[in-house]
């Protein structure tokens, strides 16, 4: 559930970010950033971001996490890992973007015009329920909660895919759905990231 965060708690949230990013191998290298901008220069979507990847790391280091979480930046990241393979300091920029997305969802930051958070949440719920991702249900639920008219726009493509037998209406389910439930329950109970 999303939790509202007051200005006072932002400092704590910065700590949460650093703590969680450090859980990934090499995650703490983010503090080695020298602002060279290789990440921004390598990013195919930087032009559409409120802040470029380089700026994001700058704001993080300046303790301005709120600016970052209120921006569209991480939701414009397509996870192509171009920044990650090129960063001369070995910073896992893509992992940092993932962490920002998770924090934004968890603490209820919903920048205007952003729908990547809805897609992620719907995707996760589907997988938690079935064990697999049903493409059709994912798109239907996503469009219903973000832009029902978008669904009409997509109907043409949907129909073509349906005609070519590239859509399955019934979701596939795994046998071990209870295993997924138990794993996620454990994560929740332990307050894990």
């Amino acid at each position: 559930m999303a939790t509202q965060v007051g200005a006072r708690d932002m400092g704590r949230l910065s700590d949460v970010f650093l703590e969680e990013i450090s859980r990934m191998p090499g995650g703490d290298k983010i503090m080695a950033c020298q602002q060279c901008g290789t990440c921004s220069g390598s990013c195919p979507t930087a032009y559409a971001m409120d802040y470029t990847p380089r700026q994001i790391i700058g704001w993080l280091r300046a303790g301005e996490l709120e600016k970052v979480l209120n921006s569209n930046t991480m939701w414009m990241c397509a996870s192509c890992y171009s920044c990650t393979v090129r960063c001369p300091a070995g910073i896992k920029v893509t992992d940092a973007m993932y962490e920002l997305k998770r924090l934004a969802i968890k603490y209820g930051f919903t920048p205007r015009g952003v729908t990547g958070n809805t897609l992620a949440t719907v995707f996760q719920k589907n997988v938690d329920k079935y064990g697999r991702s049903p493409e059709m249900e994912l798109l239907a639920r996503y469009y219903l909660s973000t832009n029902p008219f978008g669904m009409l726009k997509m109907a043409g493509l949907g129909l073509k895919l349906f005609r070519n037998k590239r859509i399955s209406l019934a979701p596939e389910k795994i046998r071990g759905r209870d295993e997924i439930q138990k794993m996620l329950q454990y994560v929740r109970e332990k307050g894990e990231w």
């Binding site: 969680e20 859980r23 990934m24 191998p25 195919p44 979507t45 559409a48 414009m76 397509a78 996870s79 192509c80 890992y81 171009s82 393979v85 993932y98 962490e99 997305k101 998770r102 969802i105 952003v114 729908t115 990547g116 958070n117 897609l119 992620a120 949440t121 995707f123 996760q124 997988v127 064990g131 697999r132 991702s133 049903p134 493409e135 059709m136 798109l139 996503y142 493509l157 073509k160 895919l161 070519n164 037998k165 590239r166 859509i167 399955s168 596939e172 795994i174 071990g176 209870d178 295993e179 997924i180 138990k182 794993m183 996620l184 329950q185 454990y186 994560v187 332990k190 894990e192 990231w193």
Partner: protein, 294 residues
């Protein structure tokens, strides 16, 4: 050669042709793909955007099953770039980092599973070129692709960041395979740039431009078609050509098929065996008519 096979969610729906053609080509090359028992979603990009340790753990459930089913002796093969990246990254983090190992292990334990780190994650392209080998592939070619000008599109997640079998900036594995099939792969600087992935759904204008840039590069370099190695790349590259044409005033009608379908054509498989005909670019089947039997 026996391998465990992880199809991934897209390969049973929108990317069915990749599954069908991949299995058929593997069979011809004596690569025995045994489907992973009760596999679950790899935990791809949108899942990782919502879950951290939970995402690593559901990815690891697949690795745990693979270790048990293959007795720690069989590699886990996938064809989807995103599944490959997610499973491979989880596997690397698990191997590299003790805390990660402990954390993931504890979550798996809650479901009665365990993983010892004994599985190797592979992409089918890697298996065909490095285990089977280009010589053996060539020996199976019965109908050369006759100098077909093809742009080999790797997309982003196959060669990064582990880059286990190819270069992250300018990969060549698929080009070499296509050459052996008799095709003539064109120079293609955008070959490892991103197709936009899920941004095609959440920020379409941004993704359309990314795909436009890839298609333009292929066309300017003389490609007649594009070969892909990922179901999301395939659909992004082919399904939105009409939108791109209206938005940018371009005139794309570029067939986009899986590299496994081209391999099947060269090895004399029928249209049905490589599942050609589900494409959205209307001239795809007629374009390949010379290469595939009815």
């Amino acid at each position: 050669m026996d391998y465990l096979y992880y199809p991934g969610c897209s390969l049973s729906t929108s990317g069915k042709a990749y599954d069908v053609s991949g299995r058929a080509v593997a069979r011809l090359l004596a690569v025995n793909l045994v489907e992973l028992d009760d596999w679950n979603c790899c935990g791809t990009t949108p899942y990782f955007s919502a879950q951290g340790l939970g995402a690593f753990s559901i990815a690891a459930r697949n690795l745990a099953i693979a270790e048990k089913q293959g007795d720690g002796k069989m590699d886990l093969v996938t064809m989807c770039n995103s599944c490959y990246m997610t499973l491979s990254k989880t596997n690397h983090y698990f191997a590299e980092d003790e805390r990660m190992r402990k954390d993931i292990g504890a979550v798996l334990g809650a479901a009665g599973r365990s993983y010892g780190g004994g599985v190797k994650v592979r992409h089918l392209l890697d298996v065909l070129t490095n285990d089977v080998g280009l010589e053996a592939v060539k020996a199976k070619v019965t109908r050369e692709l006759n100098g077909l000008k093809v742009a080999a599109y790797y997309g982003c997640q196959m060669s990064r960041p582990g880059a286990e079998f190819d270069d992250p900036e300018y990969p060549m594995t698929m080009d070499r395979l296509l050459s052996v099939l008799g095709a003539d792969p064109v120079e293609f600087p955008m070959k490892a740039k991103c197709c936009g992935g899920m941004l095609m759904t959440t920020s379409q204008d941004v993704a359309l431009k990314m795909v436009r840039d890839v298609l333009s590069d292929a066309m300017e370099n003389g490609a007649e078609c594009i070969a892909t190695a990922c179901p999301l790349c395939q659909i992004n590259l082919e399904a939105y050509q009409g939108d791109i044409n209206s938005k940018f005033g371009t005139n794309f009608m570029m067939p986009v098929v899986y590299f496994t379908q081209l391999a099947g054509m060269a090895m004399g498989l029928t249209r049905r065996e490589i599942d050609l005909g589900r494409e959205l670019v209307p001239n795809t089947v007629s374009f390949f008519r010379d290469y595939v039997a009815a």
